[in-house]
């Protein structure tokens, strides 16, 4: 008997461990079929038109830190204007794992928020999965209020899957004191690849470094501006062929990862995976320049750095270019109130509420964003002007896969194993084409 009990206990334990990876998976097979949780959930909703419609909205945690947040204030305004809608924010930590994956798993399980903020790069993937809803015809009335680039990020297969909210091009932050100390003119920041390289070299001295990047991800995001500056492209217009082994692309890879190999970046950057780490390294004076978006402005300003710093636009290779990040508003597929959900996203992206973004030093994706108060800020101006030459990443389901499985490993191989650039990128293109052919 003891034997059996012991055996049972231990099998149970291992199983629960081996199966824990599958727990959430098994729920979604249920969820993709039918929404089993729906009838039990808030039956009050179906009792009549006057019942309160409750919207659960996921926002990045820092946007709704306390009741003074302008986003929370906008919510209160919305609730006053729509007394039958109750909005509950669920502040969620931004990140592929902590935010996107959580949303996918919950939505597949028949749950998930009614509305959420999404990183612009996730929208095509979420749309392909069917975990967010396409917007109805009512959205057609407002689309031409937004810039083309941001609008592309919510468009998948010709359908609109959300409204753009924030547009964040990248630019380069630089330490003016370090520039002076290195004999560079802080009022004339680098404009070309050569000047940038030269500055990075001069700034690298005595344990300080000229440049930085998010090496933990292989630096694929940091590389995009350089790719486009070189005149190269990621993927052809039909989304069928990868183009990042072109001579232009190779030149951009040689340029950026040349800076890495020359050790003009701190060695620790090889493990960096977050903006916080880059901001901290810049704030500590460890690096003289780094690429980031307006999302770093707030934390740098709050940090009260003991040196002068500024922002200059991405340099020109063949042309000036940078990458566009930002946020969109999308509607979860399990919402019971799609109309109320749409009402919210139209409300929060309207002209009046541009000031919400201003309070977080962010740029609205609206064409009339020039009226945002932040435009007087000289650093902000750089970002605003960069929108003109900022490009969005391809709106492809496969993009994340190509990024994670092909580009990042390729760049890591180039940096860590000193792999031949041309050969590595040829292989990468073959792999990427295979992924593209399956989608």
């Amino acid at each position: 008997m003891r034997k059996i009990v012991a055996l049972l206990a231990i099998t149970t334990m291992t199983m629960s461990i081996a199966a824990c990876g599958t727990d959430s998976k098994s729920t979604d097979s249920k969820g993709t079929g039918k929404d089993t949780a729906a009838p039990a959930n808030k039956p009050a909703a179906s009792t009549g038109g006057n019942a309160k419609q409750e919207l659960t909205i996921w926002v990045y945690d820092y946007l709704a830190k306390d009741n003074n947040s302008s986003l929370v204030k906008a919510k209160e305004k919305f609730e006053q204007a729509n007394p039958n809608i109750k909005v509950t924010f669920q502040p969620t930590v931004y990140g592929t794992t902590s935010y996107r994956d959580k949303f996918v798993a919950q939505t597949a399980g028949g749950q998930g928020p009614d509305v959420m903020i999404s990183d612009v790069v996730w929208v095509p993937q979420l749309a392909a999965m069917g975990s967010i809803l396409p917007l109805g015809d009512q959205a057609k009335a407002v689309v031409d209020q937004f810039y083309e680039g941001p609008l592309q990020t919510v468009t998948y297969n010709g359908k609109l899957y959300g409204l753009p909210w924030e547009a964040s091009p990248m630019a380069i932050y630089y330490n003016k004191n370090a520039f002076k100390a290195a004999g560079l003119d802080p009022d004339k920041p680098p404009k070309t690849w050569d000047e940038l390289h030269d500055a990075a070299k001069k700034l690298t001295t005595g344990g300080k470094f000229g440049f930085a990047y998010m090496g933990g991800w292989g630096g694929s995001f940091d590389w995009l501006p350089f790719l486009w500056q070189s005149g190269g492209e990621l993927i052809d217009k039909d989304g069928k062929k990868a183009l990042f082994n072109s001579p232009e692309a190779i030149s951009s890879i040689n340029y950026l990862f040349g800076i890495v190999k020359e050790k003009l970046i701190p060695p620790a950057a090889l493990t960096w995976k977050s903006w916080d780490e880059l901001n901290a390294a810049f704030g500590a004076g460890l690096v003289g320049m780094y690429q980031s978006g307006a999302w770093s402005l707030d934390s740098l300003k709050k940090a009260n750095l003991n040196f002068d710093w500024g922002v200059f636009p991405s340099p020109a290779g063949k042309q000036q270019a940078t990458v566009l990040g930002g946020m969109d508003w999308v509607i979860g597929k399990n919402t019971k109130y799609p109309d109320a959900a749409y009402k919210w996203i139209e409300f929060i992206t309207n002209k009046e509420n541009m000031s919400v973004l201003s309070d977080f030093s962010r740029i609205s994706a609206r064409k009339d964003n020039k009226e945002q108060a932040i435009f007087k800020d000289p650093q902000m101006k750089v970002f605003v002007e960069s929108i003109a030459f900022a490009k969005a990443r391809p709106a492809l389901t496969a993009w994340s896969d190509i990024d994670y499985k092909v580009l990042q490993p390729a760049f890591l191989k180039i940096v860590l194993k000193d792999a031949d650039v041309k050969q590595t990128m040829d292989e990468a293109v073959t792999q990427a084409n295979e992924i593209l052919s399956k989608n």
Binding site: K25, T97, A268
Partner: protein, 281 residues
């Protein structure tokens, strides 16, 4: 009496397990919901053709074997030490449990900081001792990442076997030693003939437990390296996670989880045979 627990168990174990087995033979991609269907063994053949998966298996074996041996190698001598009488023994018994009770996230990030390539204390000490000239990016170097995380695993994991073994040591009847001493057994003989056989059941149980735990470690690897760089610290757990929750390919995720399960089964069977042998005696 047992019905409710069996019902509960079937919900949280049997059902997910059956689902997992079914999905491992299906194409289940969340990115392509309409492509769902049976694919036979295709997931498994993809899996074994995948060089990353083979790396993950090799890393898992290194990780588990080395991890278990090191955890026991640290735990056993300390258990012996703590069993001896000395002043402040109680304090050390408590203090050595700290790694075990520390939340895994806190532990992982503490180690991330100690390993840091610019500000880490480890690099600071090693450069001061002139053992290295330039700081080493322990977690960002494919040659060191797996072992760097493994050190954290050992640090975090050794207190459990230590406590178990200490308890077993204290349960060894004192009169056995006295009798052996009367019979003229020397210290070595007493350890080999009395202590080791007496604590063997506890040691076996410990080994099984920490093998399973070490095999299944996820959060420290994930928090410290996410299996990188270049899959150098990719284990089965991070592989399953990458597939299932980053590529949203649940079919592949399930089939790799099945391989994991099969590997764990080997450990269980070994233990089961050991237990039944014990009972026959």
């Amino acid at each position: 009496m047992v019905a409710p627990s069996i019902l509960g168990l079937s919900f949280v174990i049997v059902y997910p397990l059956v689902m997992n087995i079914t999905m491992s033979f299906q194409n289940v991609k969340l990115t392509q919901p309409d492509m769902r269907g049976w694919v036979g063994l295709a997931n498994y053949s993809h899996l074994f053709a995948d060089p990353v998966f083979r790396t993950a298996i090799a890393n898992t074996l290194i990780w588990t074997l080395l991890g278990v041996v090191l955890q026991l190698a640290v735990a056993l001598p300390i258990a012996f030490l703590l069993n001896a009488e000395f002043a402040g023994r109680g304090f050390y018994r408590g203090a050595l449990l700290i790694p075990w009770v520390m939340p895994s996230v806190v532990a992982a990030f503490t180690w991330v900081w100690m390993y840091d390539g610019s500000f880490g204390i480890l690099n600071y000490i090693l450069t001061k001792l002139h053992l290295i000239r330039d700081p080493v990016v322990w977690l960002g170097n494919p040659n060191t990442s797996l072992y760097a995380v493994l050190v954290e695993q050992v640090w975090k994991g050794f207190p459990f076997p230590m406590v178990m073994l200490l308890a077993a040591l204290q349960a060894v009847p004192k009169d056995m030693y006295e009798a052996a001493e009367v019979d003229g057994a020397n210290k070595m003989q007493r350890i080999m003939r009395i202590t080791i056989p007496q604590i063997l059941p506890a040691l076996a149980l410990c080994t099984v437990f920490i093998t399973i735990w070490t095999f299944n470690s996820f959060e420290n690897i994930w928090l410290m390296t996410e299996g990188g760089p270049l899959n150098s610290s990719e284990t089965m757990t991070t592989f399953v996670y990458h597939n299932a929750f980053q590529s949203f390919d649940l079919g592949m995720g399930s089939s790799s989880a099945m391989v994991m399960f099969a590997m764990l089964l080997v450990v269980i069977i070994c233990y089961a045979r050991y237990v039944s042998k014990q009972e026959e005696r």
